[in-house]
């Protein structure tokens, strides 16, 4: 199967010491990859490097055969909940339509095809009925699904999710998982999560990131748990 994410010998530093060191990662088309690791271990940084939002200090990142920074239009990115200003006065519809930026004309409003794509995305995650509501007035799970809809509105081939079930209740988590099960059939997904059970149920492979990257053996629950508990 074709490899669509190729991370080769990547180091990354925010200025003091390497946050990531010697990272090598290949993700095949259609694969669902889980990323685990301790807080501050570099999981989000790795996701942002793959999204082209951060440039590695050493090494190479290619997505769909091109440098990651030039692949934004193929990538849907769902940030961590805390990174989005939820007090901002904005409707669900306006958030999801933002996923069409880069696909529509630069000047003026959105076009009919953008409205259609946004509607499709909202229907996929079950927030179409909430489209006129203010984002800040939704439940945690609904907000998370709106951010997933924004990523889907650009019809991505690669979906990157940063802890999509963190800070949501059990019911909201079930709704998000249901959406992810549906999406995995149509796109490649890389998801950062602390929820081991969730990852084991959903993903094809799991990598552990704590400055360096290590593969987690596929069939060993003990191996996975010990990695997280010991912070190896």
């Amino acid at each position: 199967m074709m490899e669509i994410v190729e991370v080769t010998d990547v180091d990354f530093s925010y200025g003091t010491g390497n946050t990531l060191q010697g990272i090598n990662l290949r993700v095949a088309e259609g694969e669902f990859l889980g990323v685990v690791g301790p807080n501050g271990g570099g999981k989000t940084t790795l996701l942002k490097i793959i999204a082209g939002l951060l440039a590695p200090t050493r090494g190479q990142v290619r997505v769909f055969g091109r440098p990651a920074a030039r692949c934004g239009r193929f990538i849907g990115y769902v940030p961590q909940f805390a990174d989005v200003d939820l007090t901002f006065p904005i409707t669900v519809r306006d958030v999801v339509l933002m996923g069409r930026l880069g696909f529509t004309s630069f000047l003026g409003g959105y076009r009919e095809k953008d409205e259609k794509a946004a509607r499709w995305a909202m229907e996929q995650v079950g927030v179409w009925d909430l489209r006129q509501k203010r984002l800040g007035n939704l439940s945690e799970g609904q907000k998370q699904r709106v951010l997933i809809a924004r990523a889907l509105a650009g019809e991505p081939r690669l979906l990157l999710l940063d802890e999509p079930t963190a800070s949501v209740d059990a019911e909201a988590e079930r709704a998000v998982v249901q959406v992810l099960r549906k999406l995995r059939k149509s796109m490649t997904i890389i998801m950062v999560s602390h929820d081991l059970q969730l990852l084991k149920d959903l993903v094809d492979r799991i990598v552990y990131v704590n400055r360096k990257l290590r593969w987690i053996s596929e069939d060993s629950d003990t191996s996975l748990s010990s990695f997280l508990q010991l912070g190896n």
């Binding site: 999204a51 082209g52 939002l53 934004g72 239009r73 990538i75 990115y77 940030p79 990174d83 989005v84 200003d85 901002f88 006065p89 904005i90 409707t91 306006d94 958030v95 339509l97 933002m98 996923g99 930026l101 880069g102 630069f106 000047l107 003026g108 409003g109 959105y110 006129q132 509501k133 203010r134 924004r150 650009g154």
Partner: protein, 280 residues
Amino acid sequence: MEGFFQALSSYSFLQYALMAGVLASIASGIAGTFVVVKRISLISGGIAHCILGGMGIAYYLGFDPAQGAVVSALIAALIIGLVSLKAGQHEDTVIGALWAVGMALGIVFIARTPGYNVDLMTFLFGNILLVSPEDLRLMALLDGLILLATALLYKQFLAVAFDEEHARLRGMPVELLYLLLLMLIALTIVVLIKVVGLVLVIALLILPPAIAGRFANSLFQMMAAAVGMGMLFNAAGLVVSYHLDLPTGATIVLIAGMAYLLAPVGQRFLKKAPALAGRG
């Protein structure tokens, strides 16, 4: 109240003042909304005070200070914008320094301007009652520019204000859009200087949108409500200052400030209102 309307029909300076309030509210409602949601009131304050430097230089060199204000506003927006993009953690220090230096430059050049004395107080505190038809034309022109730019780039400005990182992922020129936004805010400050002066300009820029933000569902609603509220505060300030013989700019700001303090009460009342109606 009757006395004010009689005076309004008789005195053109009051009519101009009312028109200036309307024009200022359009600019401040739109640009101020971005200032509030993007949380850049310090940057906007820096730009406002740097404008005095440009106006002082324009006076000293014999140019029209209004034109000097426009040019210096745009230059100040570019400089402060670039500083805020590059300075990182030292942003507030550098902007604070530019704020003071820009203002000091203006005071020095105005003091050294030969020929006649310029009333520094008019710049600092404004005087809406001295607005001329030329001032109104400039304000209308700047309003037109602000409206046009916002209409053309609304979705980009919204994206940059809400989530810069996502806008960057979608290929938007985030830094350029941010600088453009600051330039619109700078032009708005030029419009507002006539009404409330440099010192009070931030109040009129942020208070109406800050109140509107409590009730609005979208950025567009917030802008529209802020424009409406700005017009209301300007008109009310004009009426109250006329009857009580108070400085108009300061009265407008005090009314806006009182509305801002009362806004949480109004918000609570609005939230309870449907429940109370349901009981009946």
